[in-house]
């Protein structure tokens, strides 16, 4: 197995990019990630991205996105219509071939031009479910209801997730929602999609994330303390919402097992939970204990770029491992309705 590490990370989050289009706000983020390690995009052995043209409603936006890389002379390049975390998985696989030692991974999304919860309806089963236009927030609320009815989880638990996220986000300059919140005040807020309140749902966010991966000695050259990927795995569950138990995440559990989450202590975890109750499901599926700091960045509840927020979780976890905030971290990304598909990555520092 080739050892691969995260050696650079940059992100950009905004509630609404009114003026700039995707490629225009993506390019400075790529520049920042490259300047962190003093390299150029043309130095990269492989380039791979994650995005979805439905968000901004622009056909072939993913091809335009490549303009931000400067693809001349031609690059070895790929794209996934998935969160950038899955693009990172492809880059990790590509680096296993051993013939290249760097990869650029980027993801971007501009959801503000459309109605995101409605756009997401189109990822549902197209014959009998999508034509009903069930929106993403309502589907998450069904899951939250199922979780609360199964016992053990109350709306106070959800509010505590939100309060902790906002409090952690205060130290993250990239977070959009942060601050000190009283659980009782949060519970006094009106329902949005019962049992979810507005603060239980991640904000619609425009933005981008960029990660540079490097292998072996190249990673040690580029970073004083690379965040090594010790394990990475992803799993998907049945498309039909009625075919799985919504109160647990089997795909996260299996991916976590395959990635080796339980092989050592977990200092911190960045969990991609666009809805507060999902963080509880994920922490349970990964077997995280009280000694793990969950979402020190504030998580997706503080900023959630569709298609990039999963990659951001890996970047946030890697940054903390490299900075010495923790020695061993878990990063998680999700895709699809109500945690249908999940990726788990274990990151560890040498020192």
């Amino acid at each position: 197995m080739v050892d691969v590490a995260v050696v650079s990370f940059a992100q950009h989050n905004a509630f609404r990019e009114d003026e700039r289009n995707e490629v225009e706000f993506l390019q400075p983020v790529i520049k920042e990630a490259m300047s962190n390690i003093d390299l150029k995009t043309q130095d990269m052995g492989f380039v791979v991205s994650g995005s979805c043209d439905y968000l901004a409603g622009q056909a072939f936006a993913f091809v335009s996105g490549l303009d931000a890389v400067g693809p001349w002379p031609p690059l070895r390049e790929s794209h996934v219509e998935m969160d950038g975390a899955w693009a990172l998985y492809e880059a990790w696989i590509r680096l296993q071939h051993g013939d290249i030692d760097t990869a650029l991974v980027y993801a971007f999304g501009k959801s503000s031009p459309g109605d995101l919860p409605r756009v997401l309806s189109l990822q549902l089963e197209p014959y009998s479910v999508a034509p009903l236009w069930p929106d993403a927030v309502s589907l998450a609320a069904l899951q939250a209801r199922a979780l609360m009815e199964s016992g053990g989880v109350s709306d106070k638990d959800l509010a505590e997730v939100v309060a902790r996220s906002r409090s952690h986000a205060a130290s993250n300059p990239a977070a959009l929602l942060s601050g000190s919140h009283d659980v009782a005040d949060l519970l006094a807020e009106p329902m949005y999609a019962d049992p979810l309140r507005r603060h239980d749902c991640a904000p619609v966010t425009d933005g981008a994330s960029v990660i540079v991966l490097a292998a072996g000695d190249r990673a040690r050259e580029l970073s004083d303390n690379p965040a090594w990927i010790r394990g990475i795995d992803h799993r998907i569950e049945a498309q039909g919402m009625g075919l799985r138990d919504l109160t647990v995440s089997e795909s996260t559990r299996i991916a976590g097992q395959a990635a080796g989450v339980a092989d050592g202590p977990v200092d911190l975890a960045e969990l991609h939970a666009p809805f507060s109750h999902q963080e509880l499901i994920l922490a349970d599926a990964l077997g995280l204990g009280a000694d793990t700091v969950v979402n020190p960045s504030g998580g997706a509840l503080s900023a959630n770029v569709m298609m990039a927020a999963g990659l951001t979780r890996i970047g946030e976890a890697a940054t903390r491992v490299s900075n010495g905030d923790g020695h061993r971290a878990v990063a998680h990304a999700t895709s699809g309705p109500a945690l249908q598909q999940n990726l788990v990555c274990v990151l560890e520092a040498d020192k």
């Binding site: 289009n21 901004a56 409603g57 931000a68 693809p71 999508a130």
Partner: protein, 168 residues
Amino acid sequence: MTETTLPEPIEEVTIPIQLDYVYTPGRSSSMWLRGLAEGRLIALQCPTCEKIYAGARGLCPMCGEMFLPDPIDVGPNGTVVTFAVVNVPSKNIDLELPYVSAEVLLDGSHTRTFFLLRGVKPDEVRMGMRVRTVWKDESEWEPTLANIKYVEPIDEPDAPFESIQEFV
């Protein structure tokens, strides 16, 4: 086992889908579109390769660099770089067949812009032919390339092939 009679299989379903968006063209395209509303053809230049893009979108797709901020007026004349004689009717194009679609290198730019070419018989169109843009009445200008009705030949000698070779 009882015999079951299956209904006729459904072979086709129609599922209407509509998503509404507020289109945001971005900074570069907005300059082009706002220029068109004023009767201008505004191009932007890449600081690295120095190419001048008419109808620039985003950033230089070769170098990945943001364009220089100063708008550069190009056209209103240009050179036919390549063309097609269209004999296929299309539902949303109300033109008498055959008509000519042309890729035009607007003077001062390094990128081709797509226009309808009129005022010349299809069998007389040539690569290198000099043309001018014919605009709608100023009162009708909007932020759209549709302000230009078509391009038509002007009385100038054809541009030599070498001058358009790079753009073919």
